[in-house]
């Protein structure tokens, strides 16, 4: 659905996007992640033909962008860097203006607007001008605008910005539902928990470069550490240390971390149980997307990892 090759954008001496190779397949719910200033928005804008690439190629829906923009954009819904509307008009009037270039009769268009409003839970909204709306309502209206023409591809930049937890959940469910219905979603976000919950594939960019692109479950592969919860920590440590390649990690009164380096977790479990250790819980540790993200975008080039506490903000 989206394919870029060596996509590069320079603004003067600043290289915002540097040789990006993205590959988004049909039916993906694709998470596009990166720290602030990593070139996410510039990339989204290039995909939509708003910003012209310095070099490299873009294909959206199998057609070159921005060359085939008219044809491609007719099938793409998008939300770029927050919604924007004519503040003196109502939400409905805004959507009607936005859709006026669309196909179909006047009645078709009116129905399309109503459907889109209903889809994002704004169907009861009255004639109040958008300037009197809350951020969350505007965000929903932005989504409604993106959904107007039943797009094959949705390109969304921070779609849950400003939504409360209910709204965030609704949008998440909506996205999953859309993907089930055959829509491909390209979701640019820095809400890692959100991406981890819904996305099937993800790419991580840092300073304009692609640092990872894979299935989300592959990105979240085991760390090689196993956490054993047991009252017999001492005995467990002695037994585990006897296995080849195993290193002992952090030890607490009731928990032991073990680095397995090739040993199967089940082998460790067998040895502990056979040795009489009362294993309460044995967990193969997986990183959160946040761990992966911070590792990939923090360590490179000696930049200190951002304070994780700061990035753990809950949406809404």
């Amino acid at each position: 659905m989206i394919r870029t090759e060596g996509l590069t954008k320079r603004f003067g001496r600043l290289t915002a996007v540097d040789g990006l190779d993205l590959d988004v397949g049909e039916g993906d719910l694709f998470g596009f992640l990166g720290p602030n200033g990593s070139g996410k928005t510039t990339t989204v804008r290039m995909l939509l033909g708003l910003v012209f690439a310095t070099s490299g190629g873009i294909e959206v829906l199998g057609r070159p962008m921005p060359g085939a923009a008219r044809e491609v954009l007719a099938q793409v819904g998008s939300l770029v860097e927050g919604p924007a509307f004519y503040p003196h008009l109502s939400g409905r009037a805004n959507l009607t203006l936005f859709d006026a270039a669309g196909p179909g009769s006047r009645r078709d268009r009116r129905r399309r607007v109503e459907d889109a409003l209903a889809r994002v839970g704004l169907d009861g909204v009255g004639r109040r001008p958008v300037k009197a709306w809350s951020t969350g309502m505007r965000q929903r209206l932005g989504l409604a605008a993106a959904l107007l023409r039943a797009p094959r591809l949705l390109v969304l930049d921070e779609p849950t910005n400003g939504l409360d937890p209910h709204g965030t959940r609704e949008v998440r469910d909506l996205l999953v539902e859309l993907v089930k219905g055959g829509t491909t979603v390209f979701l640019s976000s820095h809400l890692l928990a959100e991406v981890e919950l819904v996305c099937t594939r993800a790419a991580i960019v840092d300073r304009g470069r692609l640092v990872a692109q894979d299935r989300v479950d592959a990105l979240l592969g085991p760390t090689g550490r196993v956490l054993v919860t047991t009252p017999d920590v001492g005995a467990a440590a002695d037994l585990a240390a006897g296995l080849p390649g195993v290193r002992l990690g952090e030890r607490r009164p009731d928990r032991l971390a073990v680095h397995l380096d090739g040993t199967a977790p089940e082998a460790l479990n067998r040895r502990l149980v056979d040795g009489g250790v009362r294993v309460r819980e044995l967990v193969v540790e997986r990183p959160t997307l946040e761990d992966v993200f911070l590792r990939l975008t923090g360590g490179l080039g000696g930049r200190p990892a951002p304070d994780p506490g700061e990035d753990r903000r809950v949406p809404g």
């Binding site: 708003l50 793409v76 006026a100 669309g102």
Partner: protein, 267 residues
Amino acid sequence: MFLVELRKLVGRPRTWVTIALLAGLPTLVAVLLRVTGVGPRPGQGPAFLAQVLNNGALFPAAALALVLPVFLPVAVAVLAGDTVAGEASAGTLRYLLVRPVGRTRLLVAKLAVTVIFVFLAVLVVAAVAFAVGAWLFGVKPLPSVSGQTIAAQDATWRTAVTVGYVAWSMLGVAAVALFASTVTDSPLAAALGALAALVTSQVLDLLDAAAALKPYLPTHYWLAFVDLFRTPLLWHNVSRGFAIQAVYIAVFLGAAWANFATKDIKS
């Protein structure tokens, strides 16, 4: 596409306030002239005003001469400067452009709406002035600037050409402002940019040292429509004015298009 832009223009109170103000100034002048009976001495003050006291039929032309130096170009520059930059500063430009419409079409639609506004504004000023002039001063056959009489029929088409000429001159302003509007994301900067160009032109037009440049200045022939009320008609300056404006319009619209079609939309 065009209809959407037109609806935006019509639906905006600002449009009508501007036009009302434009028509208001000549009306105020007419009322003052009527009440005091004191006109400028012939040959002084704004064109035609001296004659208006005797004949309201000249008032449309007089009204246009009143709003032409400042009021009208400011209104046109503000509106045309807002076309693209206003959408950019509101953040709506990116949403206009992610629709499958193409930048050239958007720009053409915006331009068409601007042209409509310019003609509408000039027409309303002329129409209101005609009504006010006829009501306050009465309509008689026109004495021409050169002394002979112009028949009523004749006066009508001369006024019509005047309206067209003034609108055409304002399209030159609109073209400059539209170009500025594609350069900056601030509607204010775009309008001021266009006005700065006009003020520069008007200053140079007063400067003897710039004599060689004068025939090419965009504002130089603005008031040449006075010649349309002479007998025999003096076409020379009017047609030169048309031609000069045509060049400015073509150059700046071309530049606006070239800039807008290749611009990175970062707003």
